[in-house]
Amino acid sequence: MRANKVLDGNTAVSEAVRQLDPDVVMAYPSAPGAPMLERLAMDIANGSLDTELVNMESPQSAISGCIGASAAGGRVFSSASSQELAQMHEMLFIASSLRLPIVIGIADRALSAPINYYADHSDAMAERDCGWIQLFCESPQEAYDNIIQAYKISEHQDVKTPVMVAMDGWITSHTMENVSIEEPSEITDFMGKRIPTYSLLNSTKPLTIGSFSSPNYYFEHKLNQFQGMENSRKIIREVGKEFGDRFGRYYGYFETYKLDDAEYGIIIMSSAAGTAKEAIDRLRSRGEKVGLLKLRVFRPFPFQEIQERLLGLKAIAIFDRNIVPGSQGGPLYNEIRSAMYFCEDNLRPKIFPYIFGLGGRELNLSDIDNTIKEIKEKTEKVESENGFHFVNVRYRQVNNE
């Protein structure tokens, strides 16, 4: 039977992991995602979970252990945030290049310096080029659902690519909401056991994994990896539909909110989408035609689908929750602007980059009101789209001369 529980994001993740019965959990604590691991450790201590939890000595070791465990044919989980995710950086590339199914849960937290304990996307976005599938969650329910789907996607024979499931630290990881927890047998049925193609533990068919690849082969090896990520586009949609058919909650690359007849759009990820939806309701009640696109899948980036969905809007404001010094905008802005390049000129919306919420700075309803006002004015006056816009910050302008 489905159980409705009041859970925070971390607990929702650990519920999902518990139901998936992983062989191994590679633990290295990092706030604010550590409770994902703590709850699994408690389940093991109480005998309700039959998993090997290994307390590793560093984040690099934890992800290395995930690689070893996956190469040995096991289903493995780990978690990381901020500095700890950054410390995994080198091994994230190796995990994806070796085509190993691994899932890690991330409670997004700002990167140092200055050291800060609160949510932004600088940690996950710094790993956007490491070959992992990236799913972003708005709520504890989505965290639960995405973890389950992440394993199904990651272990799919055509994909075999690791997945990181990210939610906003504290905001989602520690805020309690209603979460539907599915019947464990239903989850087992949905997932099945992992059947690895290869395993280091098969002594009758020895493997060499991680060999030296010369210029004669390296390029082809990378293309092979690239293909796995490309294949995941289809699988992510299929799994999202299958999950929906079974459990009633459907998932695609993104969710839209009142976007169909909208003239102005907001594009945002993770928990801030909740604020955006509320702001849109208020703006709509004042007759403004505003809508939202909340991106769930950042890697692989759904260029074509986003382009199709945003065609015909007058203007869009893209909200990035991290800052990349020296760039022309946040990563989300750059991907979307690039996706819109091939539109017909008269159909392409004006695209404005907004940076918000760094280091846990709040996003207010009024910030979204002001943004919509701003992009409306600029569009009507046919002003340049160039230049950053910073939301809810003391210094709005950066001298770039």
Binding site: S64, L207, I209
Partner: protein
């Protein structure tokens, strides 16, 4: 004790056709250590000479299961493998019931330096993994730079002997003592000249339940600039000068010295055998040679005095 003939007939887990340098000691060490396992092996290998020299895609010299991920994390990778092994065994989901042995191999750079945290980690957790360090006293694969295993006075590409500096200024890290301080069941130091000693220690390491560590001197003709047919002799000279004592430590405290040279040779014999020390023989560097000799004597005296009483009888 087995004969060399018997040893030669054992199953080989590492085949010829690899691309290691002529005269490299690693294949000799591997022949002995891998030959000591009576069970199928799973090997995790750190980036370095051996990994690069044995797996030039699409070829492999490995007949056992083998994985390489990165430089400082070979044992962390293996921690994941053994965790799955324990888990599947517990759940009755292993493909077959054959017992496996788990071996991590790293050079001195990936052991003494970048890997020390993950080695220490698995030892603290008591995982059933054997660690083999082939110690050529430098970062040999990247061009012979200094590591913390490089002895004082050695000229390397990052501690070159110049007109002002006489090579590396620091004493090498005593990794065997650091490992022994973890109080793991078995720690041993050996060198390939005494094949029987190395084979026996490797057998002991594989038999041991829990962590075991082997530190093996691996003379490197390429960076020590020595003749390619001298590697094994050099490893013996290291023992005869007490530069590389052969000993084992059980349970972190019970020390046995396995080889005591009848005539302990002065360290100068060792130093003049290799180009990396040649500058130390200059008159103005005599103080360094004296310092090295003093350290060797202290270490040797300590080992002899720390020996377990019963063992010495």
């Amino acid at each position: 004790m087995i004969t060399l003939k018997q040893l030669a007939s054992r199953e080989e887990w590492f085949s010829s056709g690899h691309t290691l340098c002529p005269g490299c000691s690693i294949p000799v060490i591997l022949k002995l250590v891998l030959g000591a396992s009576r069970n199928p092996l799973v090997i995790s290998n750190a980036t370095g000479c051996l990994q690069m020299g044995s797996t030039l895609f699409p070829h492999t010299a490995w007949k056992s299961n083998w994985i390489h991920t990165g430089y400082g994390n070979a044992s962390a990778t293996m921690s994941g493998v053994t965790a799955v092994y324990r888990s599947l065994k517990k759940k009755g989901r292993l493909m077959d019931e054959k017992e496996r042995k788990f071996l991590v191999i790293g050079g001195d750079g990936s052991t003494y330096d970048s890997g020390i945290s993950s080695i220490s980690g698995y030892m603290e957790r008591g995982e059933d993994i054997v660690y083999l360090c082939y110690d050529n006293q430098s970062m040999a694969h990247s061009g012979g730079q200094a590591s913390s295993a490089t002895p004082v006075g050695a000229s390397t590409t990052t501690t070159p002997a110049g007109t002002v500096l006489p090579g590396k200024l620091q004493t090498r890290k005593n990794i065997t003592a650091i490992i022994a301080a973890h109080r793991i069941p078995y720690v041993a130091q050996s060198a390939p000249w005494n094949w029987n000693d190395l084979l026996r220690k490797a057998e002991k390491a594989f038999e041991t339940k829990g962590p075991a560590y082997l530190n093996v001197l691996s003379p490197c003709p390429t960076h020590w600039n020595t003749d390619t047919d001298k590697s094994i002799e050099l490893s013996r000279l290291a023992a005869d000068t007490c530069v590389w004592p052969m000993f084992e430590i059980r349970g972190g405290t019970k020390i046995t010295v396995n080889y005591k040279p009848r005539h302990k040779l002065p360290v100068s014999e060792w130093l003049k055998s290799q180009d990396r020390f040649r500058h130390l023989l200059e008159k103005e560097n005599k103080w360094i040679v004296d310092k090295i000799q003093e350290e060797i004597d202290q270490n040797w005296d300590f080992l002899l005095s720390a020996q377990n009483e019963e063992e010495t009888k």
